[in-house]
Symmetry: C2
Subunit: 257 residues, 2 copies
Amino acid sequence: MLNTASPITAPALPAACHAALAVDANQRSSQRIADALGLLADTLAPQRRVVRAGDAVYQAGERFASLYILNSGFFKIVNLAADGREQVVGLKFRGDWLGFVGIATGQYGCDAIAMDIGEVWVVRYDALLAACAARPALMGMVHEAMSREIARDRDSLMSVCTLPADARVADFLRYWAESLAKRGLRTDQFTLRMTRAEIGNYLGMTLETVSRSLSKLARSKLIHFAEKGRRDIHIPEVNALSDFIQGCLAPSSPMLQ
Amino acid sequence: MLNTASPITAPALPAACHAALAVDANQRSSQRIADALGLLADTLAPQRRVVRAGDAVYQAGERFASLYILNSGFFKIVNLAADGREQVVGLKFRGDWLGFVGIATGQYGCDAIAMDIGEVWVVRYDALLAACAARPALMGMVHEAMSREIARDRDSLMSVCTLPADARVADFLRYWAESLAKRGLRTDQFTLRMTRAEIGNYLGMTLETVSRSLSKLARSKLIHFAEKGRRDIHIPEVNALSDFIQGCLAPSSPMLQ
DNA sequence: CGGGCGTTTGAATCAAATCAATTGGAGTGG
DNA sequence: CCACTCCAATTGATTTGATTCAAACGCCCG
């Protein structure tokens, strides 16, 4: 088998450099999202819809007609199988697009549920295609959004398949923080919009295991809870989470207890 | 939470009807793929490239320039993380497109490896976009392919997150058979192109567990192995696999041993 | 024929699920 | 304001499904 794995690692740089580069990348990312939303607003004047926690942007089985772009809020994508299994298959933030699965099948494949107050922009798919013909930049945005979704889905699968429970929870927090960072939001402190049960469902484990993993992360000072309630989370150093994940994978892992 | 789950189930029909409908759907699917490949060949005259088992169509990190359409063969998509974890994140067949992840990032995110002799068509992305401007049908094909990939990725995640090992292996066989059916190939008998280790990697379990699950399925007559070698698999009744998966989920599952 | 790889199977171990009890906030209404 | 309920979360004890470790088998190929 042709297996010439050449791991793509950044060249060795001081940690401060890494941090600076990361901040820079996040700023660019945040700007890119703002630009994309701006272009969208200018060229399509999309209908704006305000949603509250629990509202469905669309539901599985509805006829596909529009794509949705998130301007604000936090959303989960819930797949429900014919046999009743229910599974959170994705999390979406500002700048993300919803509803791509409908393009192929003509109907939405999942429920898209708001986890907080937010605003979604509704764009009819036929109108979008027409507009794209005139503006290639718009088409590029659509493709980029789909492309990114595919990449993210693969990372999810990878996480579920290769990481033990503790590392999966850590990776989930890392991903959430990274998503916030890319949108110019503070990442050291944020509130989880999901219950332990929802997180567990997303990560393929039980709510008890999520709770235990969070407790363990807190005990080892990788995260802190706000005094009141355990949904506000403080992450002093996101990189420490990545290190923890690595540690879980190491053959003779000097595991934190 | 707005959780009005209305499971999308087909209306009650005799089994024969279901089978007939399924056959019909598969024929349409097979035709759709043939049409799509035809259109592609006519409008773009893509470069054709023959690959052999183990060949890489592209590798993670290479600069993105082209998409690849599979005319024949079986391919796996392998994601490799910076820390060395290696994970099969997708399987691809005739009619599928490869390389979408590169659109957003400018480089391929995974290795795409042939598991058999096959033919891929190479289409430069810029040329494709240009052609799409003139032919909306072409653009529709691209979007459909991406859309389907997203849908499939979600199903994968769902399978890994919600099914026990035995059911996951059954679901894998069911998926493979279905993929063949949609391409007009025989589904009652086929040869797995993957080792137990690869299947296990894809499904998030060890090769021993895959082997045990296959043995159990064989013991309960849901599958049969050809006399020589255990890579040729005979599935007398694909629906029985679905029933088995359901059985694994039932609260008081009268599990087959 | 012998070596190498993929596969099967068993026994021991372990991580996570399950079962169960308790705590802690948020919200309600007397 | 407090008592009350309800639900999310925590934590412990136990069970179990899957992994790990180990041995043996079968097939392919030089």
